[in-house]
Amino acid sequence: MFDLLIVAAMLVCAFQAVRAPRLLIAALWLAGASALTALMMYRLGAPEVAVIELSVGAGLVTVLFVFAINIAGEEPPVTLRSLVPAPLAWVAALCAVGLGVAMALPNLRAESALVQSERFATVLWERRSLDVLLQVVLIGGGVLAVLGLLAEGRADARKELK
């Protein structure tokens, strides 16, 4: 029952995030959706990932969004027509979700017994250490990309120096 509430709230937040007219409001709704997702993950028995999702997804990414929106500036509040006709988009999305529901729900198994008895840390650092390496590489690459993107061009810097 409690879970149903969480899911309902999560979906409402997500929907509002997508439909909000102003970007800052959308970012805040997204933070709400992230927090509720983290709660859902805890309910599904994954406390470590839940806390990481809370801090990164609801915290870091939200700050990032606010920062970027402030630098980029809000668009003028004229609501433009969407390029894909809205009914078509709704139909397509509902079809996909409906098919997903039709295929997944009848086949949901009951939870099977716990196979892995190791701790999360053991699995992460020893069994799937390649994943950790991948994450480090991704972070390094992302940092380099952002530095490259946000650096001023050499010509601009020279102009400023003059």
Binding site: S82, L83, V84, L88, A89, A92, A93, A96, L99, M103
Partner: protein
């Protein structure tokens, strides 16, 4: 001495490495680009030649590519190594020739990169024994061919010729892809040796579909009937490219495909007859078209189509050895003819033979080598073309229908006729070229002389060639030694009949003034021939249709995120629907 696996990878990888390096060097240092191209082409040739003593009949090199694509395997048996050696050696000679021919041209990086990329892919095509990999290399050679035909990309004729070649060969390639997919569906993997050993396990209608699909792919690639119009138009390419791709290597890919898969398809009803028909009709039709053309390279292109028809005909009658032997001779003398034509064209700056003439005095070396090549083409005794063509005719006489044999015989006479025609138009008669006609440059001579020597001598390898091909030949073929083979050819009655027809062809040109009445009566045929007997219009229609449909579908590529996501979503819905229905 490295082992066969390393050599196989090197013979594909060295030309590819050369392509990358030449492209990276960039066009500011042309001498370096020329040098790099020649070095890597020769290195690839050395690797291929080093494979000759190490050939093996089992798959080497197994790279697993996941369950969908199976194992990447290579099979360096006699047939494969032979074609790899031909591709890389003639490739190296064409690259050496390009040093002089392309001197001063812009964008050399693009040119050499594509040529080297092509050489590597051709070697990969013949060495692969995974049918999907063969298809991948097939497509790469088509891409390089298109890029090189349209190399002078500010000339609209070259661009349209390139697109036409691409579309026609790709339409044929669908046959190959369909065959590969059928194989996977019924065999569970793409392994070619397994298929060849047990082709009878497939249901007969699937095997027939595969057989005719492969025939269509081979006919399109080798410019056979009814796909023959792209090759003459592809002569817009720089001449070394014509020599390499459109005479000695890529067009042989179709013949290779038929020869490789012959053991699997020979039992399919009517397949051999279809192959014979395609080969015979092409050979005769192209020979007629060569007689009426005035563009030197187009004559050679039609001649290539005609000779490929001979090879295809030989395969259809079961003479695999004859077809591969003729492939060897043809690769050598046709490359020789194209490169010497390139020297001539480079000197007089025109391809129209009516503006040439009397060049024999000013270009002595080119005249000699081109006459050698021409004699081989016409099938004059002692030269390699004679032995291989007679072998083809003999195989056809034994294994094929009589009407096809008569077509090939007439074709041989016509071949002699058009050969003498173009030789005399270019080198004899009144000099019409300008005063500054120079003989071939040094790099051109370095390329031409080995080919001429090859034309004079490759027939001596007949016996060892048969042993080399070994298991690639169908069972029941007796492998003879060189002397026995040559004697058999020389004493067969078919040979004398053919020689008589060739002599008739030569005499017809020599006495052409007396035969003017006959020529006038056949003028209508000549006009039809210059229109490629209506196929030109057909193919142009196909190309126009393809281009129009591509333009009309451009609206789906509008680059807007929403529509792209929509497309992904629609695809997802389709896949989910298929899965839902299939599972239920």
């Amino acid at each position: 001495m490295p082992n066969i696996e390393t050599l196989a990878l090197l013979s594909i990888g060295l030309p590819w490495a050369g392509a990358l390096l030449v492209w990276l060097v960039q066009d500011r240092k042309p001498p370096l680009q020329h040098a790099l191209a020649v070095i890597f082409a020769l290195a690839g040739a050395a690797a291929a030649i080093a494979m000759i003593p190490l050939k093996t009949d089992v798959n080497v090199l197994h790279f697993p590519l996941g369950s969908a694509f199976g194992l990447v395997t290579f099979l360096p048996d006699g047939l494969a190594v032979f074609l790899a050696v031909v591709a890389t050696t003639i490739g190296s000679l064409a690259v050496i020739f390009s040093v002089d021919y392309m001197r001063g041209e812009r964008q050399l990086g693009r040119y050499y990169a594509y040529v080297l990329f092509f050489i590597g892919s051709m070697v990969g095509l013949v060495l692969s024994s995974n049918l999907l990999l063969i298809f991948v290399f097939w497509e790469i050679t088509a891409l390089c061919s298109y890029a090189l035909i349209s190399f002078y990309n500010d000339d609209p004729k070259a661009v349209s010729a390139g697109i036409k070649a691409l579309i026609i060969t790709q339409v044929g390639g669908i046959g190959l892809l369909a065959g590969a997919l059928f194989l996977y569906a019924y065999q569970g993997n793409y392994d070619v040796p397994t298929f060849l050993a047990g082709a009878a396990r497939l249901p007969p209608n699937v095997l027939a579909l595969m057989a005719f699909g492969f025939l269509i792919a081979a006919a399109a690639k080798s410019a056979q009937f009814p796909f023959q119009t792209w090759l003459p138009d592809a002569m817009e390419a720089p001449t070394p490219v014509s020599a390499l791709i459109h005479a000695a290597t890529m067009v042989n890919a179709g013949v290779y495909l038929l020869a490789r898969f012959y053991p699997a398809f020979e039992a399919v009803p009517n397949w051999k007859l279809a192959v014979v028909a395609v080969g015979a009709i092409t050979a005769l039709m192209a020979a007629v078209m060569a007689i009426v053309s005035n563009d030197l390279k187009r004559v050679l292109a039609y001649s290539t189509v005609s000779q490929l028809g001979y090879m295809v005909y030989a395969i259809g009658t079961g003479g695999i050895f004859a077809s591969q032997f003729h492939l060897l001779s043809h690769a050598v003398f046709k490359a020789l003819l194209f490169l010497s034509a390139g020297a001539v064209i480079h000197a007089v700056h025109t391809r129209d033979m009516r503006e040439m003439g009397g060049l024999g005095k000013q270009m002595p070396l080119v005249k000699v080598v081109m006459i050698i090549g021409g004699l081989a083409l016409a099938g004059i005794p002692v030269l390699n073309g004679f032995w291989s063509k007679e072998l083809v005719l003999e195989a056809g006489h034994e294994g094929g229908p009589l009407w096809a044999w008569l077509f090939m015989l007439v074709g041989a006479g016509l071949t002699a006729l058009y050969t003498l025609r173009f030789l005399s138009m270019v080198f004899y008669g009144e000099p019409r070229g300008g005063p500054h006609v120079h003989d071939a440059g040094p790099a051109m001579k370095i390329a031409l002389v080995p080919l001429a020597l090859g034309t004079l001598t490759t027939w001596l390898l007949a016996g060892s060639f048969g042993h080399f091909l070994g298991s690639a030949l169908p069972e029941g073929h007796e492998v003879l030694g060189t002397a026995a083979l040559l004697t058999r050819i020389a004493t067969a009655p078919a040979t004398f009949v053919a020689l008589a027809v060739v002599a008739l062809g030569l005499a017809a040109w020599w006495q052409r003034s007396k035969l003017a009445g006959v020529a006038h009566a056949l003028r209508g045929v000549g006009k039809m021939a210059s229109q490629s007997f209506g196929f030109e219009a057909l193919n142009r229609g196909v190309v126009r249709l393809t281009v129009a449909s591509a333009e009309s579908l451009r609206t789906t590529h509008n680059g807007v995120l929403n529509w792209n996501v929509m497309a992904i979503l629609v695809g997802l819905v389709v896949v989910l629907a298929i899965l839902a229905l299939g599972g239920a």
